[in-house]
């Protein structure tokens, strides 16, 4: 279903449909994360991907145009690049351990340490929160700063432009 949605996102020309389909895509991948037992990630994907970004995309469409432009050059070269990259990635997955294998590197490196230390040192049931907030506190602080910077950037770019245009208009009216 993810593949079908992705293909239709590429094929549909009306941007309203594209935005709705990408919301569907996010929701489907959230379901995929749930079936992988990654509930925190699924939660974020559903809230951010399917919820907020759909609304923001619609807002962007309202400010720009409703349909995609016709591509100006042929799409054969990008198709070749994408196919080769995809083939390499699929080849890479052949070396990966089986899904759910207990001896996969991700389960033998730092994860056991987090699992054994969290109940003793932090004593919260949700280990994801403990890792994000405590063991990886700097990362999360950095992420928050990134969100903050992004917000400031958008506010400066978009709101500032609007104000300048308004000022120009009043100047014209005065003249």
């Amino acid at each position: 279903m993810l593949v079908v949605t992705a293909i239709s996102i590429v094929r549909v020309r009306k941007l309203f449909g594209v935005v709705m389909l990408s919301g569907v895509f996010s929701l489907l991948s959230a379901l995929l994360f749930v079936s992988f037992d990654a509930v925190d990630v699924a939660f974020t994907e559903a809230a951010v991907g399917a919820g907020i970004s759909t609304v923001l995309m619609l807002g962007t469409i309202a400010l720009t145009a409703r349909t995609e432009k016709k591509p100006s050059h042929s799409s054969i070269l990008p198709l070749i690049v994408v196919t080769i990259t995809g083939a390499v990635l699929v080849y890479g997955t052949l070396d990966m351990p089986n899904f759910g294998a207990a001896d996969a590197p991700i389960h033998t490196h730092v994860a056991p340490e987090y699992f054994s230390r969290t109940p003793v040192e932090i004593d919260v049931p949700n280990i994801v929160t403990a890792i994000l907030g405590s063991y990886r506190g700097y990362d999360t602080l950095g992420e928050t700063a990134v969100v903050f910077t992004a917000g400031i950037g958008v506010v400066l770019l978009i709101s500032g432009l609007g104000r300048r245009r308004k000022r120009k208009k009043t100047d014209v009216e005065k003249a």
């Binding site: 400010l63 932090i122 949700n126 506010v155």
Partner: protein, 146 residues
Amino acid sequence: MMEHHLILRVITKILIAPILIFAFYVQFHGDYSPGGGFQAGIIFAVGFILYGLVFGLRPTKKVLPEWVVHKFMALGVLIFAGTGVAGLMMGGNFLDYSVLAETPQKGQHLGLLLIEFGVGTTVAAVMISIFYAFASRPPRISDEDW
């Protein structure tokens, strides 16, 4: 904006309170169940954005003026960093919450609660202000064109 959608307006009014309460649940229950500051901030922002979409931007800005949102954006980062500095002041490392309360575990609980609150504040404020920034500009295409 959309004065004629009676059903939308009624449903929105019913939905907004549960959305905001759910956001707080996700925020402060993040230690025990899936969730945390990022998700809670988004859900909280969605409550206001939904209101803004259905009832228009002006009533939303009356409830939550733009300058307040901008202040909260910075306040969240300050809460997060301030928690780190508080740990520094009380004799630990930066962002080491074990020293914040009598036992290390209680300190960690308090620290996690505070930083998640900081994250949630920033995320919600950023999302709402991005929505304000997009929605306050006059749209290029009219409602019928969709």
